[in-house]
């Protein structure tokens, strides 16, 4: 499955969910979506995407939060799987894009790539809804189910490695959510969410 085959079905179904991207999904998602509730966990703290998404989910329990995390990133904070379960968040959908490499630094191998069973690890941590895909068609048929119902949901998706390069936050970036600093985007998103909640 390619990154595009992962993201395009999600983009078609996405309505008012918060979507948090990381690493290899940041730019491709930014080409598919121009939404005030997209958040790029980029040029930030490596490995701290799922936990940041959890914070958003806990703050906005009536809104689904979709986190597109990388396998390398997830490996850095495996304990977050337990933290998510302990928190009781029911609105978080956590994807792990399993391409086996640290793509944006040149495709170095993630430890135990191809051996680690992410969906099984999530199930063992307490996720009662887990999915595993390596076929684009099966994934596209199931994405609607993934986004519905009570979570937290864990989705392992085997994706072909790409050639994403390090991500910047600057005006030269194509995606709107990369054209400003994290601080500026965070404030804008906070204002949007607080206005929506009022």
């Amino acid at each position: 499955m390619t990154t595009a085959e992962l993201l395009e079905p999600l983009a078609r179904l996405r309505t008012d969910e918060i979507v948090v991207t990381a690493m290899s999904t940041v730019r491709p998602w930014g080409r598919l979506s121009d939404h005030d509730l997209d958040f790029a966990s980029a040029d930030s703290a490596m490995g701290h995407t799922a936990d940041l998404a959890l914070g958003l989910a806990l703050a906005q329990p009536d809104r689904r939060v979709v986190c597109l995390n990388g396998d390398g990133s997830m490996m850095m904070t495996l304990g977050t799987l337990a933290t998510i379960i302990e928190s009781g968040a029911k609105n978080l959908v956590l994807f792990v894009i399993d391409n086996g490499t640290y793509e944006i630094t040149g495709n170095q191998k993630v430890p135990a790539a191809g051996v680690v069973d992410w969906a099984a690890m999530a199930a063992a941590a307490g996720f009662w809804r887990t999915y595993r895909f390596d076929d684009a068609a099966a994934y596209a048929m199931t994405i609607g189910e993934i986004l519905a119902g009570e979570g937290p949901v864990f989705v392992q998706v085997k994706v072909e490695r790409g050639n994403a390069r390090p991500i910047s936050r600057s005006q030269i970036e194509e995606a709107r959510y990369l054209k400003t600093s994290m601080a500026t985007w965070s404030r804008q998103m906070r204002a949007t969410l607080m206005e929506d909640n009022s």
């Binding site: 490596m46 940041l52 806990l58 906005q60 928190s87 965070s186």
Partner: protein
């Protein structure tokens, strides 16, 4: 702001008063990894009607979760131990600092008593030999220098008189859009304040 009498002669500060201060500033969540110094705080918060606790598996998650909570419109507070701060550096840098999240942080000052008993004040000019001494806690020696170098304002919280620091530190965090730390030099005890009726 600070008194002069030796802190050893003053009762250990009460968690109940700290919690009253958190209520006054409208805190919604306390995020952290429970430790000896904060045990009374977490115990009292277990049944708190308006402040939720989010336990993490490692302190780096706490910064990211708190930052996500803030973007989502909430008012989180952090409570971790000094060695947890040292462990979590990039989580702090890449989320809370990079996003300019105004965040009040309680940090237990493990080893403060040993440092004081030896008449040592923390210094940026770290003595490698002191870091290895059996009668000193290296986490205590490194806490204030680390915060100073990282530009995180901090204040020592020694007694119940310092409960007022909670609001002051939070207001500073809001004003300056950055984390501000209260260093719990002696931990917290549950306290004599009447427990909240359930």
């Amino acid at each position: 702001m600070k008194k002069e009498e030796p802190v050893e002669q003053v009762p250990v500060p009460q968690a109940a008063l700290a919690i009253e201060a958190l209520e006054s500033l409208g805190a919604t969540h306390v995020v952290g990894l429970p430790d000896n110094g904060h045990a009374a705080l977490y115990e009292l918060l277990e049944t708190h009607p308006s402040i939720a606790t989010i336990p993490v598996t490692r302190e780096g998650e706490a910064w990211a979760i708190a930052s996500g909570l803030w973007v989502g419109g909430k008012r989180p507070v952090l409570a971790i131990q000094n060695c947890g701060l040292l462990e979590s550096g990039d989580g702090l840098r890449g989320t809370t600092m990079r996003m300019r999240v105004p965040l009040l942080c309680f940090i237990s000052y493990r080893g403060f008593d040993k440092m004081s008993a030896n008449g040592i004040e923390p210094s940026l000019d770290v003595d490698p030999e002191e870091l290895t001494r059996e009668d000193l806690d290296s986490a205590a020696l490194l806490l204030e220098p680390t915060l100073r170098v990282w530009g995180v304002p901090f204040y020592r919280y020694d007694s119940d008189d310092d409960a007022a620091l909670v609001m002051e530190a939070w207001q500073q965090a809001e004003r300056e859009e950055r984390p501000v730390a209260l260093l719990m030099t002696r931990g917290l005890r549950a306290g004599d304040v009447a427990p909240r009726p359930r």
